[in-house]
């Protein structure tokens, strides 16, 4: 099965072949490198930009205004903080401009911790991004979703931010992308650029099919009754692991919801599950002061306060200036499996 980053690459290939993508632009996204995470290797419309994030977002906006369909990459979300004014304009231009323009702009960027990235390759971006009204924000946790969300992002005529969980980029999917060859070594031969000289290399793309994950649609990846756990990105598989471990050890079963879309989020999936279980844990690794998980909690309180059996829980990253390089810092800054499992167990077993 493809890795998450291969899935992104195949989606971009599908996008430039069938969905009108005109430009895949960013620092080092063109040949020879094809992106620091290989997400853009071998793509026909990928080109290198100057080292200027403001220029990247600005140019992509201009391309979209003029009828192109750009996918812009910010090399690491950590380097996007000088563009927030432009992201705001991208998000408000249609509203401010009385609906004159559509802005079919996709921005993709690796987000989150887990690659020992020190301060500036470990940032989470979803809480910041969720504040950008006019944008849609998605974050896959597996290869197939990455493919399906990327295609939807491309098709959507509004600005869509695709956050790619750094820690999961090299994780292989468990489901085939439609058209993907079953043999992952073979896929690698087809679409991964070789080490060394690449000047004569051409990718051989598999014959891919359209597969859409609608924006705003969560995925219930485990079903259960003891409690609801909602997550996305790096912490999603940890939640699954924790739920599976608790099922095996204690027979506790959980609704595990992969949110996939940060905004719009799938309130009805979340709401229905909470109504069923009466218990909820929200997990993400972004910093804990003014965190998107706290928004979800607010919705839960607003609408289901009286249906909750026990105190709802939120697990988030600590309010810290950064994530330090030494593993001790990282392990004590963002939720780990053990934290999630302990919290989930306490949530499920607390007396109502």
């Amino acid at each position: 099965m493809a890795t998450l980053v291969q899935a992104v690459r195949m989606a971009l290939h599908y996008g430039e072949t069938y969905l009108g993508v005109t430009d895949i632009l960013g620092e080092d996204v063109g040949p020879p490198l094809g992106g620091v995470f290989t997400a853009t290797q071998g793509l026909a419309t990928a080109w290198n930009t100057p080292l200027d994030e403001r220029g990247i977002i600005g140019a992509a906006m201009g391309i979209a205004y003029a009828g192109g369909r750009p996918v812009a990459e910010i090399q690491f979300c950590d380097y996007g903080f000088n563009t927030i004014d432009l992201l705001k304009i991208a998000g408000n231009q249609r509203w401010a401009g009385a609906g004159n323009y559509e802005l079919p702009l996709v921005v993709m960027t690796p987000s989150g911790s887990g690659i020992r990235g020190s301060l500036y390759h470990s940032h989470s971006f979803e809480s910041w991004a969720s504040r950008l009204a006019g944008w849609k924000i998605v974050m896959p946790s597996n290869a197939l979703d990455a493919y399906g969300l990327m295609l939807s992002a491309i098709l959507d005529p509004n600005p869509v931010l695709v956050l790619l969980p750094k820690a999961l980029l090299r994780v292989h999917g468990e489901q085939l992308i439609p058209g993907e060859p079953a043999d992952q070594e073979y896929l690698k031969q087809l679409i991964d650029a070789p080490l060394g000289d690449r000047s004569n290399w051409q990718p051989r793309w598999p014959d891919l099919d359209e597969y859409l994950v609608p924006i705003g649609q969560a995925n219930r990846v485990r079903e259960g009754t003891a409690a609801t756990v909602v997550s996305y990105g790096r912490t999603l598989p940890l939640c699954v692991q924790a739920a599976d471990a608790l099922a095996a050890a204690h027979g506790l079963t959980f609704d595990v919801i992969d949110l996939r879309s940060i905004f719009p989020y799938d309130w009805s999936a979340l709401s229905q599950s909470v109504l069923k279980t009466g218990r909820v844990l929200l997990v993400n690794e972004d910093t804990e002061v003014t965190n998107f998980g706290e928004h979800l909690l607010r919705r839960v309180i607003d609408e289901h306060f009286y249906e909750l059996e026990v105190r709802p829980r939120v697990l988030q990253g600590r309010h810290l200036p950064g994530i330090g390089l030494h593993q001790t810092y990282e392990r004590n800054s963002v939720p780990q499996l053990a934290h999630i499992q302990a919290t989930l167990q306490a949530l499920a077993t607390e007396e109502a």
């Binding site: 192109g68 231009q93 924006i215």
Partner: protein
């Protein structure tokens, strides 16, 4: 009176017909701005910002625009003093006034944005946004599409002198001169020597702001923006370069700021800066092209047009509570929550 075929300014000249056409737009623009200033004080409108003092250059700019929708035509990334440009492009005064009057019929912003914050997809006018200079970061994008598309469409980007301090000004130069990827971007700086209360000369050491293009090999001109004939020709050369060469060009126009920065600083008429309209009328009169009564007629007509536009706008509906979310999102076939538009938090 005798008529002449053309009017001179230095070594340059423009046909009498063209001069009269330019004059007419300039007067209409001024009359409209003056009426809008009044609106901001009378309660018919609210805030005012605009371009009295920039009419000569901005009118000529509008007359050079290849007007239309899509990459075959010019794209405009304007700032908030370009009213004369829109009038020169034959856009109705009423639409600008609707914005000043905060009407829901305002085609640029539905009564949401300050006056002068245009947005018209039909004519490639991308939304004017208040944060100064961001348009310079966005402009290369439309030019990338134009260059690839072929044809002679140009991307025009306009900003002030003070705004050139923002990094986006440099971004535009760099992105427009990538080797082999040069872009047809016409970078215009409207130098009125002020950023609100701060004199340009207190902050900037460049002799001309457009001198900064030299290191990037961008040709540049400076022009007296109070002189429509000089402006016309400078713009003609600049557009010609961009249209044919498909490379960038920089143009710096020295202009006046005749009503101060905005209504926040009172919008009172200043007396110590040249008025491009008075100057031009003097020239046209000396050339025997325009008699005082024709001038008076032009002004009267323009003022009537402005008054009628205001009257009309004020009869039109204001935004209603239900309009608050409108046009947040374009309809999307792949969005399970907002297939049409934003409707409040996900349900």
């Amino acid at each position: 009176m005798t008529t002449v075929a053309e009017v001179h300014s230095g070594k340059e000249a423009l046909s009498a017909e063209q001069c009269l056409a330019i004059h007419r737009v300039m007067v209409r623009a001024r009359a409209m701005e003056e009426r809008m200033i009044q609106m901001s004080k009378s309660g018919e409108g609210y805030f005012w910002i605009g371009g009295p003092g920039e009419e000569a250059f901005n009118t000529c700019l509008g007359l050079h625009i290849k007007k239309g929708c899509g990459p075959d035509y010019d794209f405009l990334h304007l700032h908030y003093r370009n009213a004369a440009t829109l009038l020169a492009m034959q856009l109705p005064m009423l639409d600008a006034v609707r914005q000043a009057a905060l009407r829901v019929t305002d085609p640029h912003s539905m009564g949401r944005n300050f006056v002068g914050h245009y947005a018209l997809r039909q004519y490639n006018i991308v939304p004017v946004s208040s944060p100064v200079e961001t348009q310079y970061a966005i402009a290369p994008g439309t030019a990338i599409v134009q260059k690839r598309h072929g044809g002679d469409g140009v991307t025009v980007v306009v900003g002030g002198d003070a705004g050139s301090s923002e990094g986006d000004f440099a971004t535009c130069m760099i992105w427009s001169t990538r080797p082999g990827q040069e872009l047809p971007v016409l970078m215009i700086v409207m130098n009125n020597q002020w950023g609100i209360s701060t004199p340009m000369r207190s902050q900037h050491s460049e002799r001309h702001i457009v001198d900064r293009g030299e290191a990037f090999g961008i040709p540049a001109e400076t022009v007296d923006g109070n002189d429509p004939i000089a402006s016309w020709h400078a713009l003609r050369r600049a557009f010609q370069w961009c249209r044919r060469k498909r490379h960038p060009f920089m143009l710096e126009a020295s202009v006046s700021r005749l009503h101060g920065h905005s209504s926040s600083s009172g919008a009172v008429r200043v007396r110590d800066e040249p008025d491009c309209i008075a100057l031009f009328e003097g020239k046209l009169q000396s050339a025997g092209l325009l008699a005082q009564d024709a001038i008076d007629d032009a002004w009267e007509g323009a003022r009537e047009e402005a008054a009628a536009a205001v009257e009309q706008a004020l009869r039109e509906p204001e935004p209603a509570a239900g309009d608050v979310y409108r046009h947040t999102y374009a309809p999307s076939g792949v969005d399970a929550v907002y297939p049409d538009d934003y409707t409040g938090l996900p349900e």
